[in-house]
Point group: C2
Chain length 342, copies 2
């Protein structure tokens, strides 16, 4: 059961907005459907967004009918721009767009380009599958037998189109035979923890306790948590990390309670072009995600609400960044440059 | 529009579980209905629970038919026990029970006792009205013109059967002519921030922005918050404070970002019998409050969930405790003893 699967002329995805109530697959037959699925978070999670976008670009390119290269490029650019405007924070999206763009440049043979784009999308997917599996087993070495691990949002197979990042590390530790328990935050407003993380862990028979985001401090302060692991949407050159709103708070709580705070992400999530987290764009989503759940209104009509979807965790709060190439510790700048440069 | 009103032979309350959708009054005609209303959080907030319990005890006593004092005491004790078992954390409940019990002791004249109980409940109510108004105006001196104040859960008139504690300070500052904005956390699981605080502030025309609990760190780290003010359910002798789950996290975030963290509470919330917050009992509520909202299931069937309703903020994180008698700063022990002893 693959969260994202290329089917030759369309993209089949698990519609993450339907879980955990229903396991529904969506078949996306045009690039605009893929863009919409990313915007509406039918597919979400930084690596998964990158993979879906790559396939979406390949899908869009198949339908380009152009007389010459200029016209092809113009239509292709429109496709790339649609994806670039879908969501701003996860850098994997922009990395996928860059890779796809480069593939289309060298030749005037459209049929060749179209095939090369499919191949490149598959390569991006394979890279993320490989990277997430590698980083998971590397990271599992950090996890002691008998650990209770707190995680936020969802960073499992659904989020990565691979083995998972934060949940990948947890799964790998469990597969090593370690006794692991997970505390999963529900992750308001969109409840990826309650909807997806709890569901994925239950599928894998890893014991999980669901809490509201506000309860993390309670469990950390009572020594109920051995470490915190989260995924990432973009990591700046200095190690500052953008991830789901609420991550920064968990890092502060971990530090205050002397608990390690790990970020697990493939190197495709590292953006060396940004010096620090201040430069990472933070998506502001529709306030109705805060004031409503499943059609139920939670707040008075007309109330103002804010909905930043991510926050920045400064590198000083991060114990280690787990990538597929190495487990990186402070100071991050030099080592991250080496890893991504490789 | 009083949140709690004694009507001679019954207790009229605003049913807080119906807000903000509907403003519904419940008429409670027996003490068991009052106990149920407290358990189900139709009436909630530490001072309001104390006031409702006092009236509920008076109401229950009116219906006691006993031939002698021993039988009266036995039935009266059963009433007191029902209230004591309603909710464990807010000390105002137990303080009200103690006051009501003392009133019933001196005489054998049941009619006199019954009237004295009504009078005492009214006195407890008047005490809280007076205390919350006083502490609000005292606390308002701490608030600078142009402040943005972050608050958690609900500590307004609904919670206090008076002027409010945290929201009382905010209202008083606004009434002083200061330009005040509020950021209100929604306060999962039961959403008192979204349901009640947003509603009360909108009634008072004080600008409010609703956020999820997980967003507080984002706004604090971006210098968007000048101070944090919360209420309290019980304050131990050393200043450690039990309040709605999530409060501890806000205190840590405030400290990390150099922002003052204030607790506003009448002295009836101070429990000198407990040396520290470790001794404060924390209510564990039904996990379905976490896994469901308004009949909608948020998490996979069968998932385990935790639901501690309060957490403890150690006194070291509290900049000041605002009471009706004084604004208390560290070290808390001596000064809190003096205040409550008065």
């Amino acid at each position: 059961m693959k969260p994202i699967e290329w089917q030759g002329n369309r993209l089949k995805i698990i519609d993450q907005t339907q879980l955990p109530g229903k396991l529904v697959f969506a078949e996306l037959c045009s690039y605009t459907e893929v863009v919409a699925a990313i915007k509406e978070m039918k597919v979400r999670g930084a690596p998964a967004i990158g993979v879906a976008a790559a396939y979406g670009i390949a899908l869009g390119a198949q339908n380009i009918k152009a007389e010459n290269k200029a016209k092809f490029v113009s239509q292709f650019d429109r496709i790339l721009q649609s994806f670039a405007a879908a969501r701003p924070t996860a850098v994997n999206l922009f990395r996928a767009i860059d890779r796809m763009k480069k593939v289309a440049e060298p030749t005037d043979d459209f049929a060749k380009i179209k095939q090369a784009l499919i191949d490149e999308a598959k390569a991006i997917h394979a890279n993320e599958e490989d990277a997430t599996e590698r980083l998971s087993w590397l990271g599992a070495e950090l996890i002691e037998d008998g650990s209770t691990i707190l995680t936020h949002c969802n960073a499992g197979p659904l989020a990565t189109a691979g083995y998972g990042t934060a949940l990948g590390v947890i799964k790998a530790a469990a597969e090593q035979g370690k006794k692991i328990e997970v505390i999963a935050t529900e992750t308001r407003p969109l409840l990826q923890g309650a909807h997806l993380t709890a569901w994925e862990l239950m599928q894998d028979n890893i014991p999980v306790t669901l809490i509201t985001d506000s309860m993390a401090g309670y469990f950390l302060s009572r020594s109920k948590v051995n470490c915190v692991i989260v995924g990432a949407d973009r990591i700046a050159a200095n190690g500052d990390t953008a991830n789901k709103i609420g991550t920064y708070t968990l890092a502060i709580l971990a530090k205050e309670n002397g608990v390690p705070f790990y970020v697990a992400a493939p190197t495709s999530t590292i953006d060396l072009s940004l010096k620090s987290g201040d430069q990472i764009p933070i998506e502001e989503r529709n306030p109705e995600e805060v004031t409503n759940i499943g059609g139920i209104r939670l707040a008075p009509k007309g109330v103002k609400a804010a909905n930043p979807a991510f926050d920045i965790t400064p590198h000083k709060y991060i114990t280690a960044i787990i990538t597929e190439k190495d487990i990186v510790r402070k100071p991050y700048l030099r080592r991250l440059k080496q890893l991504v440069g490789r």
